[in-house]
Amino acid sequence: MFKKVLIANRGEIAVRVIRACREMGIASVAIFSDVDRGALHVTQADEAYLVGPAPARESYLNVAKILAVARCCGAEAIHPGYGFLSENAKFARACAEAGIKFVGPAPSAMELMGSKTRARTAMQAAGVPMVPGSARGLSVAEAEEMAAKVGFPVMIKAAAGGGGKGMRLVKTPAELKSSFETAQSEALRSFNDGEIYLEKFIENPRHIEIQVLGDEHGNVVYLGERECSVQRRHQKVIEEAPSAIMDEDMRQRMGAVAVQAARSAGYTNAGTIEFLVDAQRNFYFLEMNTRLQVEHPVTELVTGLDLVHLQLRIACGEKLPFRQEDVGLRGHAIECRIYAEDPENNFFPSPGKITKLLRPSGPGVREDSGVYEGWTVPLDYDPMLSKLIVYAANRTMAIARMRRALDEYFVGGIKTNLLLFRRILEHPDFVAARIDTGFLDRLLAAKPGPASGTNSLAEVAAVSAALFAAVAPQKNGRNGGSKTEDGKRSGVSAWKRAARSEGVRDK
């Protein structure tokens, strides 16, 4: 096994990989930008090195600097996490040239899957079901012809696209030309690549993905599916495993396709084949993610495996320690992505200091966090704070458990999306697993109804607010009579100050 691994990432995923390294007896090396000196991944790693200022392109994307650190400290491998350099084939190549193992697939597989049109062609050749449409870049005229063939509505997509950019839904022939041109200019601006293709639009599909794992000896297995249909702007919000619409037959068919896709791409290490599934349970290849996914924990909980351990063992040249028939699914897992954002203000990010952090625990609760009480969430990166994952014997119990865990979770000082999860988990469609990629938008468009019991709770809130203002007594029983410390009153006094300054503002 490697003696030392550098983690080219930050936040919860860096902490996740550091934990795996510690469990495997591998020294972990963190990198950090100026604003991350006190970040959790820095304090938890065995070693940590500054790689540049806050902007990611000067630090977490700074290939030369990261490789220099790796060489200098003697790291034998680099784990890229997700995001940042994780799907950057050039970085993977540079690692190889520097004699450092990149924990992921070969650069050639990354490049193949990085181009949507090349991936489409390759997957079609491998017999993977595709959404009807073109497998290569089109002109406007060709697009019009193809659209007529597959039938409206259609999606116009940039070959180099991602994250919803360079994508347009076209409902009628009349809109096609202008949508094509807008998408193309957006793609040129964003990705410096104007290649555009077209697919039939699948209405209200589910997003279901298959986790695959391949070693460097030709063995590839699938580890069941994840349902990721609860999305906002193509960003996953809640993921679960297994999917409520899956049966063993469909799982085996999708799994076989995913393994075939991975094999045909010469894929090694952990990867994910994303599919769209329509109302008739037909599934279509969407794309392959050539890295560890944010939502990998739900697969870990239902399979009992540790994907990061396996990634490191595979990268080290080990064979997969089990075969397909050894993989079994048990129970149900759900993940909520906790973000520093304000769902009541258009999901605007809310960086700042976490003044209070109460974390859930107990039976079936896992938290993969990248923050701590007192940490100031910088405004320079993704606003994800933590992932809350629960496990229970079945979906109903997992939902109940997640609600309980959310009740125990409290983040003070910044806005989070915690209360939004409560709304989702109580929604009858979610409870009944009637979800598709449009579910969350529909939920957000609906006015939240008045919660039951709000009135009497409002009275409790009013009394509590007065108590906080009145300097609450600081006692917890006979032997808990700690003295009131001045520094501990900041919350109350901030409130008082606010009240007073409001009072005098317009004098």
């Binding site: 520093a340 304000d342 203000n345 258009n346 605007f348 990010p349 809310s350 960086p351 700042g352 003044t355 209070k356 109460l358 405004l379 990166y381 993704d382 606003p383 959310l406 009740d407 409290f410 003070g412 000082g413 910044i414 806005k415 209360l419 409560r422 919660a451 709000t454 709770l457 409002a458 009275e459 409790v460 809130a461 009013a462 009394v463 509590s464 607010a465 007065a466 108590l467 906080f468 203002a469 009145a470 609450a472 007594p473 600081q474 006692k475 917890n476 501990k488 919350g491 901030a494 409130w495 008082k496 606010a498 009240a499 007073r500 409001e502 009072g503 005098v504 503002r505 317009d506 004098k507």
Partner: protein, 165 residues
Amino acid sequence: MIYEVTIAEKTYRVELMRNGDRWNCRLGDREWPLDVVSVQDGVLSLLLDGKSYEVKQETVGTEASVVVGLERFSVSVQDPRSFRSRRRAGASEQGVKKITAPMPGKVVRILAGIGATVEAGQSVIVIEAMKMQNELKAPKNGVIKKINVAEGAAVEAGQSLAEVE
């Protein structure tokens, strides 16, 4: 001590009376003995008629909330000393209004300069955090009287960025 607590446009008059180690509370025409302890900084445990409430206090920027169980309530508290001035303040909608940053960020654009006439709801300043942009709007019709920041400046939550008169 008497506090006026406003939640969702409803104002509660809360009277707290110390009773040795405990508190009594009058809310409207009801009076309760309060069994309350501060279990952590900003967290109270309240027992009311046997019901147990864990209440958390939250301040984000200039916005104060109280979280009871699963519900968050935005609260505004007036303490006894600010009563009179507050009433006056409530009556006047004519004075200077500030535009404050709701969260830390960077000023990326200033859309209306000093002296510009703006309408309520018109965007005045754009700030950015975590790659998302937020337009801060004029709180009333008026004229931009002051701009306290420059483009590119980093701002803190609650910082006053501009004033409209």
